[in-house]
């Protein structure tokens, strides 16, 4: 019953989000609501082969490559190119990418230098204290990456959910500290990142992940 209600709510959110898409043409990538992103993402999955892959300018070579290799029986992957379609990333995915990068940078001074240098201009534009920002993020990253590594491969569902929840709690905390965190994620993190998956996520699933797997 509860599941049914939840599904109905998600469905309504998707419909509402889809209707909002038409009004969101000029919206900045960080200005989209979760329901709008989910609606767009589900739509992109439905049209995987022609969705985000072709978000750039028309290119006949690209089309012919796809036509030459995709048979109807093959499930086309969803590919999100952060330069062309950053709005398709869920915030927690971008934040997760940042946490991994910050956690690994914490263990390698050279990598830390490159990571900080890469986002220096963005942090400056946002007017944030860079040292404080990286310190806060690194604390979350240590916890997140520590959980991930401790879980190893054979992790239980409960462990996976705990990691997922930790990510979202960290995101909430950083959003409280940094009002424009989402702008940073979509302007500075997303452009260098491409995400690919052959997993088809339902709207309900995406919303669940975004709630911290709860």
């Amino acid at each position: 019953m509860l599941q049914s209600m939840r599904r109905s709510i998600v469905f309504i959110l998707v419909i509402a989000g889809a209707s909002a898409l038409a009004q969101s043409a000029n919206k900045k990538p960080w200005g989209w609501t979760d329901s709008e992103r989910i609606a767009l993402r589900v739509a992109a999955q439905t049209h995987r082969a022609g969705g985000t892959i072709t978000a750039g300018a028309p290119d006949s070579a690209r089309s012919s490559a796809r036509a030459a290799t995709l048979s109807p029986a093959q499930a086309a992957p969803l590919v999100i190119d952060g330069r062309h379609s950053p709005e398709l990333f869920m915030p927690s995915q971008l934040f997760g990418i940042l946490l991994v990068a910050a956690g690994d940078a914490d263990l390698d001074p050279a990598r830390r230098e490159r990571l900080h240098s890469r986002h220096q201009a963005a942090l400056q534009q946002l007017g944030w204290d860079q040292e404080a920002f990286w310190d806060s993020l690194t604390k979350h990253a240590r916890m997140y990456n520590g959980l991930t590594r401790a879980a190893r491969r054979n992790r239980s569902d409960a462990t996976s959910i705990a990691i997922c929840r930790t990510r979202i709690e960290a995101l909430r905390d950083m959003r409280e500290r940094y009002q424009h965190l989402d702008e940073f994620l979509y302007r500075s993190i997303a452009p260098d990142v491409t995400l690919a998956t052959d997993q088809k996520d339902s709207a309900e699933r995406l919303a669940w992940l975004e709630r911290g797997c709860q």
């Binding site: 082969a49 590919v79 990142v193 491409t194």
Partner: protein, 189 residues
């Protein structure tokens, strides 16, 4: 400063693979590619640096040490040669599985050449090509992209279309899925 004519093109081919060792790894459900390349063309510093990271995730979008292969290349598109490359293959090595694989490459940049940073990894059932052209010169940086990003030069967008054509031709007859994305129009530096 010399004329900023270098262009970097990032190519990515990716995927994941399950392995069946003592503890069977689940396949990666998501992959992310984090790719950057910088080219400096000044009187005192003519060089490139490229960093690629491939991260594997499970169905919870948590980082996951799945088995996958990956390669990273820096290619001089003008001469058609790979100037540096890194490879990663954990499919036959349970103990060396990682959730994120990094490749960092750097070297001397040559003026008037087009460059490419490619970051491929593959999976038997899914094989993709991702291309990302970026101007490597300071003058090419796009002001709206926080100064660190850049759009591709028209000059190299043209050469990239030729590369795309080659990729499309190479794909024919392949049993795997291969998607190629080309330059997005090309913007003068």
């Amino acid at each position: 400063m010399r004329t900023p004519v270098l262009t970097a093109v990032i190519i990515a081919i990716f995927g994941g693979a399950a392995t069946s060792y003592a503890q069977k790894a689940e396949p990666c459900r998501y992959f992310t590619f984090d790719l950057t390349i910088n080219v400096s063309l000044t009187e005192t510093n003519n060089g490139y640096s490229a960093e690629s990271a491939v991260t594997c995730y499970d169905e919870y979008t948590n980082p996951y040490a799945g088995a996958f292969t990956a390669e990273a290349h820096v290619t001089d598109d003008s001469s058609g040669g790979t100037v540096d490359s890194r490879e990663w293959d954990s499919t036959n090595c349970y103990t060396c599985a990682v959730d994120t694989w990094y490749a960092y490459m750097s070297g001397v940049a040559t003026a008037n050449h087009c460059w490419a940073d490619s970051n491929p990894c593959r999976r038997p059932a899914s094989y993709f090509v991702h291309r990302l052209p970026i101007c490597g010169s300071a003058a090419a940086k796009h002001p709206e992209n926080f100064g660190g990003r850049s759009l591709c030069c028209r000059r190299c967008a043209f050469s990239k279309r030729a590369v795309d054509g080659a990729a499309a031709a190479a794909t024919e007859g392949s049993p795997t899925v291969k998607l190629a994305r080309g330059a997005h129009g090309g913007v003068p530096c």
